[in-house]
């Protein structure tokens, strides 16, 4: 057991996976010699050699396209897209190819790849270093979509993703790379070394895909969150003194509907929070599912607190980011509704 940041935990997951399975290869832009712009792959090339961890040309479609071909051969590529904002050139390869390969070939060919990408805002990243494109992937049959919120999950979920027989989109909230963040940008950030979820087993372990975690037990309202918003939601609950149950979804597809439904049936209220824009965001799917499965238990309309339906701005960072004040107001409204 070691205290790790999320960066170290992600690196450890790849290290452990590469040591266990010769077929695991890691590549992307600046991933090899330099060890990644976020240091997530630091030392891997030195340890495993250039044929296991290497730099690529700046071509997201090339990175994912090559990974698909390698997976068809029998390798298990874990590739990096430098920012989720830059995944779009690879979208065709992900949607039309990786996600469909098993289905369209009736299992003749499969695609056990992981596409890692830093996601989310709260870092003054502006339009192309802050986006949360998860809904573009949860809409795609054949993909799995994972968003960890802490070091121990990041490692356990990434190992599971690498070992998963199907393609996984692994979204890493870069705001959480060095420490948890509750949206209070005016306060100093605490590092993961001060947080219990920074305790990460050194060796191999799995956290199952498709299983949510309850971060805060409560009886009055269920908050559905993932990534950075888990901490924002927890802070909002404390500040408002609301006895909320905060669920960290961890995997968006497949979704742990059982945990969600059990909680909402207990609380009768539901608030959904995500950084991504509102319209057709993943929150819409969550709201629809809760409505469908918990209609007779609901005592108030389901609320969504999300990014606005605008591109992610620079100067207006904290007017855009759904911080604890906005989440707190929604919690209050739902309790009064």
């Amino acid at each position: 057991m070691s205290r790790m940041t999320m960066i170290e935990a992600i690196r450890s997951a790849m290290d452990v996976s590469m040591a266990r399975d010769d077929n695991v290869v890691v590549f992307g832009e600046d991933v090899g010699y330099f060890g990644g712009v976020f240091r997530c792959t630091q030392g891997l090339q030195q340890k495993y050699g250039k044929s296991r961890c290497f730099d690529t040309p700046i071509s997201e479609l090339g990175i994912v396209g090559a990974a698909i071909g390698m997976a068809a051969y029998g390798l298990r590529p874990c590739v990096e897209v430098q920012f989720a904002d830059y995944v779009y050139p690879a979208y065709d390869q992900i949607v039309s190819e990786a996600a469909r390969l098993r289905y369209r070939s009736n299992g003749e060919f499969t695609c056990p790849i992981v596409v890692r990408m830093p996601t989310g805002g709260g870092i003054f990243g502006g339009q192309t270093h802050s986006q949360s494109p998860e809904a573009l992937f949860t809409h795609v049959s054949g993909l799995k979509v994972v968003v960890p919120s802490n070091p121990v999950d990041a490692k356990g979920l990434l190992i599971s993703s690498i070992e998963d027989p199907d393609p996984v989109i692994f979204l890493e909230p870069k705001r959480l790379y060095n420490g948890p963040f509750d949206g209070h940008h005016d306060r100093p950030v605490t590092p993961w070394s001060k947080h219990e979820l920074g305790d990460v087993p050194d060796g191999h372990f799995n956290i199952a895909l498709g299983k949510a975690a309850i971060r805060r037990e409560g009886g009055d309202v269920t908050v559905l969150a993932y990534g950075t918003m888990v901490y924002v939601a927890q802070a909002a609950c404390e500040e408002k003194g609301i006895d909320a149950e905060v669920i960290d979804l961890r995997t968006l597809l497949p979704l742990d509907l059982e945990t969600i439904v059990a909680s909402v049936k207990k609380t009768g209220r539901c608030v959904i929070v995500h950084e991504a824009t509102l319209t057709s965001g993943f929150g819409a799917e969550l709201a629809a599912l809760v409505q469908e499965h918990c209609f007779y238990h609901l005592q108030a309309p389901i609320a969504r607190v999300t990014g606005w339906d605008t591109p992610y701005p620079h100067a207006q960072e904290w007017d855009y980011f759904p911080g604890p004040a906005r989440v707190g107001r929604a919690l209050q409204d739902v309790m009064e509704g």
Binding site: S59, L61, G65, Y73, Q93, R104, P254
Partner: protein, 411 residues
Amino acid sequence: MAGGDGVLKFHVPEPEVRPGGTPDFSNVPIPKAGSVPRPPVDVDPRQIRDLAYSIIRVLNRDGEAVGEWAGTLTDEELAEGLKHMMTLRAFDTRMLTAQRQGKTSFYMQHMGEEAVSCAFRRALAPGDMNFPTYRQAGLLIAGGYPMVDMMNQIYSNEADPLKGRQLPVMYASKEHGFFSISGNLTTQFPQAVGWAMASAIKNDTRIAVGWVGDGATAESDFHAALVFASTYRAPVILNIVNNQWAISTFQGIARGGSGTFAARGLGFGIPALRVDGNDYLAVHAVAKWAVERARRNLGPTLVEYVTYRVGAHSTSDDPSAYRPKTESDAWPLGDPVIRLKNHLIARGLWSEERHKQAEAEVLDTVIAAQKEAEKHGTLHSGGKPSTRDMFEGVYETMPPHLRRQRQQAGV
């Protein structure tokens, strides 16, 4: 060209001739058979830049095999090659008719391009992997894949290896080195490079082959594939089948003024060859050269096959709306089946009578396969894949939401 009136002019390329016009390929330079030298496989790519602008040809007008690229196949192999091409042609004819009869929704034929995939297949070894487009079924025919299974796939019947999930002709067979065909153009090109990279990473001896048409070279995947292949010296052969047409669009729209499609490889430091795609012997010789290069870890090769799409783009297409009906008759590289047939006749290995007999035999084989396949049903009649199959294979293990949906579907 600069406008004399001081304003800019917008340029849109046009083919030489449209419907109603007289087909004319006089502007297509066709080098004499045997005129292009065969370099050693470890040649410095910079020394063979000319090969990207010429056309490697073996069979001359008299059906003789001439030049340094001749002599890669035995008499038996040539006779078998002719049979493969004839089989593919007969297969196409029967499946076109089956589509017109409503037995399937869709078909795409290979008329005029049979030599490219049939001859190329012969240069590969077991375990090598093709990443084909929808117009390389010759890889399956020449590779011994059961014709009945191809038809089962086309009919989407109960014996369809792909369980009715894929459009007709989108075959997949790992055992036969035939990667799953996708409807999305050129996606397979960087995948082929990735497969080849994997083989090199594992110190394997197998190589990969990517396939693309002239029109689809314009996709960004084409560029990505070339840069990755070049950067990592991947053991891959990147094949461009230039059949002059991308549905209704003539190849000039995709070419962007470059000399040839092959020439695009030069900017990436990839040796680029251009070959007569209707010359079975030339296709095989070039394929063998590129395969040897890849196998000896000398890196990728780009090959442009110059051919002509004689048939309609697909069963949903009518070429008379955009090109002269007789354009294929004017194509200077002729018909691949007739050219190989004439070569064998010229060498006393074949005759018109034997050819007619072979045509009948081939047709019998195809008809027998068709009868067998139709026992398992066609698209709208007989056996079909189950509705349960529709939900399988999205993931290795069916997740809860799909189980719920399958239940809702009542299966």
